[in-house]
Structure formats: C-alpha cells, structure tokens
Symmetry: C2
Subunit: 183 residues, 2 copies
DNA sequence: ACCTGAACACCGTTCAAGT
DNA sequence: ACCTGAACACCGTTCAAGT
C-alpha cells in the first residue's frame, strides 16, 4: 500500500466523479450527458472535472474500462456451459451499454483515445473468443474467421433491437453452423 | 411534369444544399460538419437551411436516401456472379460511408427521424438479402438467420478497419459456411 | 495541489424583420 | 414564399485567480 492519505483522497474523488459519469452515460447516453451535469451531480464546479480527467473522452474511456473489467470478472464466475449460452451471457452483460457502444464506434475515428481503446478492446476480445472456440473443438484454421463473425454478430445484436428469443435462435443457429462446418 | 418554375427553383436549391451536405458529411463526418459550414459552402445564411430541412438530422436522412438509392441502382447493374463477390461489391459501395453509418447507429436512439430511417433500411436490406440467398439455393428456414448474420458481418467489416484481402477471406468463409451447412 | 468564476469559441435552432 | 441578422440556450474547454 504505497498510497498516503492525500493520494487516497484524490483516488476517492476521482472514483466518485467516475461513478456519476458511468451512471449518466448509461442512463442518458454520452451525447446527452454534459460535463456540467456530471460536475453538478458530483458536487463540484464543471472545470474541476478537468483536474481529474483530460477531457470528456477520457471520462468515457475510464467508464468503458470499468464496465469491461466487471464483465470479465463475472464471466469467469458465471458463464459456463455450451458456447451459445456463454455468448448469450456476454450479450446480457453488455446490454445496458449498447448506447455507449454505438458512441464508441462513432467516436473511434474522431477521438484518438477512444480509437486506441476500441482497437485494444477488439484485440482482447478476439483472443478470448479464439480460446473459447478452441475449447469447444473448433479447428485452428477456422478460429480467426469464426471469432470475427461472432464478434460482429454480438455487436449487431447489441446495436439493433432484438428479443431474447430471437437472440437465442440466432446464436444457436450460428454456433451450430460454425462448429459443425463441413471440411 | 407538374412542376412550375418556382417549384423547380426550390428543388434545385434544395438539391444544392443536399449536395454540399453529402460531400461534407462523407469527407469530415456528421459531427464535425456544422450547419453553418454547410450554409457557407452553399452560399446562404445558416438559418436558410431550415427553410429546406426541418433540422440537421433531416439533412442526414436525405443524404442517406441518396446514397442508398444510388447503391441500389448500381447493384442491379454491376453486382453479378457468386454470392461473396456480390457482398464484396456491397461493401465497397458503402465503404466511403462508414463514418456516416456509425453516426446513424449512435443517433438512431437519440433522433426519431434517424431511428425510423434505420429501422426501415434494415427491413429493406433484409428482404433483399433473403431474395439473394434464395437465389443461391439457401433453404427457406435458414434464410432469415443467414441474412441477419450477413448483415451484421457487413456492418462489422464497415465499422472496423479491414483490408480487402481480409474481407475476401472472411466473406468467402462465411458464404461457404452458410451455404454448405449440414442439416 | 486543488478548486473556482468567468470567459472563449462554438453549436443547433428560433424569431422578428425584411423582400 | 423566401431569406437574413441577431439572438438564445447550450456545449466542451481554458485561464487567471484564489486557497
């Protein structure tokens, strides 16, 4: 524990601002949440935010990290069973974040920090999916293609309205198509 | 030809504003293109735009319509041959619009007009893809799932950087997987 | 080091006034 | 009917000034 009192206080305040931002981004969306409103709910002046975060995009990146870290932790605990059930679990874990995900895609080209976060996220997700597919018996030369297709389908299902029944049907079909593929 | 001179003039001016908006949206992106800048390049005052379009979103919807209509026209002319080649053609046709597509996904939940356009676009694309799959021998009960997966993969390839070599490989694999599926 | 009030340059949009 | 200058309410961000 290398942190002194001052550093702890700073961390604590940063976390509070982050928590407010996370709630507002998830509830109202990134675009409709102004820095001023985050500051207001955190009980500080708008420009105080900039003492803790470089800009509004840095706030989004920190929120994204917290969401992904939580999902990764819970996935190891709860997501067992067949492949399509695991994918369905992933989908539900990120469902609340679908607005944020759309924002990431729109801003990846506009903001360097979000672009970098997005590229790194896809690298991480890809290797996790490849490991998952490997464990479910998908032959190595197909793992790359299958993981990309699954990634895009997950993103598509998140971005577009779909009932959990439709999701189950589509993911079931996709997984059986990919894992029972002919040579 | 029911249009009189005045109506023609109006149409012409609308088209000019629309052309400027299209160029700027494609070049710089929706978010980085201000209504003021469109007006400037069209040679009118900023608020004149609002005589021809309800708001900035209506401008985007009109640009989207022009892009989709052109692509639909060209597709019937040029996109022949095997299924993956046709999908590759579609991808190239919308490549320049990848920034706009990301914006549509981000704003679909925020703007009623863009949300409606987006839902309608997917209905149209889905039925076109189903017809295409039917023509390529995909059995009817699979057409719905296959068309959604293909839609999501096309969107994914547009949204994320990918070389034409990667695209060819992935689409080839996907089409062969989907069309040679076991019962 | 941390926080603020005030300001800056911009944004989409509206409105009263002109023709 | 069409167009404009001026204004409105907001935005993210900066900066000089305070402690």
């Amino acid at each position: 524990m290398p942190k002194n009192k001052a550093a702890l206080d700073r961390e604590q305040k940063r976390e509070e601002i982050l928590g407010v931002a996370r709630r507002l981004f998830l509830d109202a969306g990134y675009e409709l949440t102004s820095v001023g409103r985050i500051a207001e709910q955190a009980g500080v002046a708008p420009n105080t935010i900039y003492w803790y975060f470089a800009d509004k995009d840095a706030l989004l990146v920190a929120v994204l990290d917290s969401l992904v870290n939580e999902a990764a932790r819970d996935f190891q605990k709860h997501a067992r069973g067949p492949l399509d059930a695991q994918l369905l679990w992933l989908l539900r874990a990120f469902d609340q974040a679908h607005g944020i995900i759309a924002t990431v895609h729109a801003r990846a080209a506009l903001s360097e920090s979000i672009g970098a976060w997005h590229a790194n996220f896809h690298r991480t997700l890809e290797s996790a999916l490849v490991a998952l597919l490997h464990g479910h018996g998908v032959p190595r030369p197909e793992q790359g293609h299958a993981s990309r297709v699954i990634t895009f389908v997950l993103e598509g299902l998140l971005a577009h309205p779909s009932s959990s029944k439709e999701r189950r049907a589509l993911l079931g079909w996709l997984v059986s198509t990919v894992t029972h593929r002919r040579a």
